[in-house]
């Protein structure tokens, strides 16, 4: 499988993903890695119903998602990977998912989070996760939609935000 985009987005499967990025990148499969949703048939059904019919959907636990991404099946398949949080993306990479670049697409305000961009708010847990991604050799960039401005987030930038890198 080729990962065409690995995105952190706390709205999960929604218009920016299914219309914006999918029209741009034309993935064969959308893979949502989320333990809670994967264990809930109703949530799986709701989120899967949001995806255009030409795109396959997999909603799996983080461990199952890693197995799918590492497997040799459908080697030519283009997959877009989604998680709802940065720590979940770190888990995917740490467990061996072939992800070298991560898109921060939507991490919205919650208590304790500070604004980096209008669509990216980070807390200490997120900053630790960003440092971990940097250690694992993953490039990180913030960009909400195709054609939008791409903001690189290298180690120096993460340190300046207070990340313990």
């Amino acid at each position: 499988m080729t990962v065409v985009l690995a995105r952190v987005d706390d709205r999960l499967i929604h218009g920016q993903v299914t219309v914006g990025w999918c029209q741009q990148l034309q993935p064969d499969r959308l893979l949502l890695a989320n333990n809670a949703i994967a264990a809930d048939a109703w949530q799986c059904r709701v989120y899967a119903s949001s995806v255009p019919p030409r795109i396959q959907v997999s909603i799996l636990s983080v461990a199952e998602a890693v197995n799918l991404l590492k497997g040799s099946e459908a080697e030519q398949e283009k997959v877009m990977v989604l998680t709802g949080s940065l720590p979940e993306m770190v888990d995917l990479v740490r467990l061996g998912a072939p992800i070298t670049r991560v898109n921060l697409g939507g991490i919205h305000f919650a208590p304790g989070k500070r604004e980096l961009y209008p669509f990216v708010y980070l807390d200490d847990l997120d900053l630790r996760a960003l440092c971990r991604l940097a250690e694992l050799g993953v490039d990180v960039f913030a960009q909400q939609v195709p054609g939008g401005r791409e903001h690189g987030l290298g180690v120096q930038a993460i340190r300046e935000l207070g990340g313990p890198c």
């Binding site: 706390d10 709205r11 929604h14 218009g15 949001s50 709802g84 305000f109």
Partner: protein, 134 residues
Amino acid sequence: MRGLVATHGGIGAELVEVVAMIMGPGTGLESLSNHGKSAHDLTEEIVVWLRGEGESGAGSQEPAIIFIDDYGGSCANAAQLACRPSDPVALVSGVNLAMLLGFATWHEELELEELVQRLVERGRTAITRLGGAS
């Protein structure tokens, strides 16, 4: 009957305001935007609205319709996840002004199912080509 217009950005608030401008107060409509909210927070906000917290405090059992702008978006997902099967709530996507004017007209006299049927029909009828180049 209560109505919630849950949309991207300020679409819902504007629609609700325009309905009140045309029909006057008592439209039965409120709005909610997805702006700046995660899927979790948006779902929770709709759950709170459905319970009617802040009114009686005991939870609302009043039938309701949630109008959504686009099927497959964050508002549609959140509304589906916020509703329990036992809730007297209908979800309608593709909201437009004609549909909401119908809601403001009939929300106090029609039962939920009949109202939904009429509003979907009215909303669809409003989508038509009026002329222009042939």
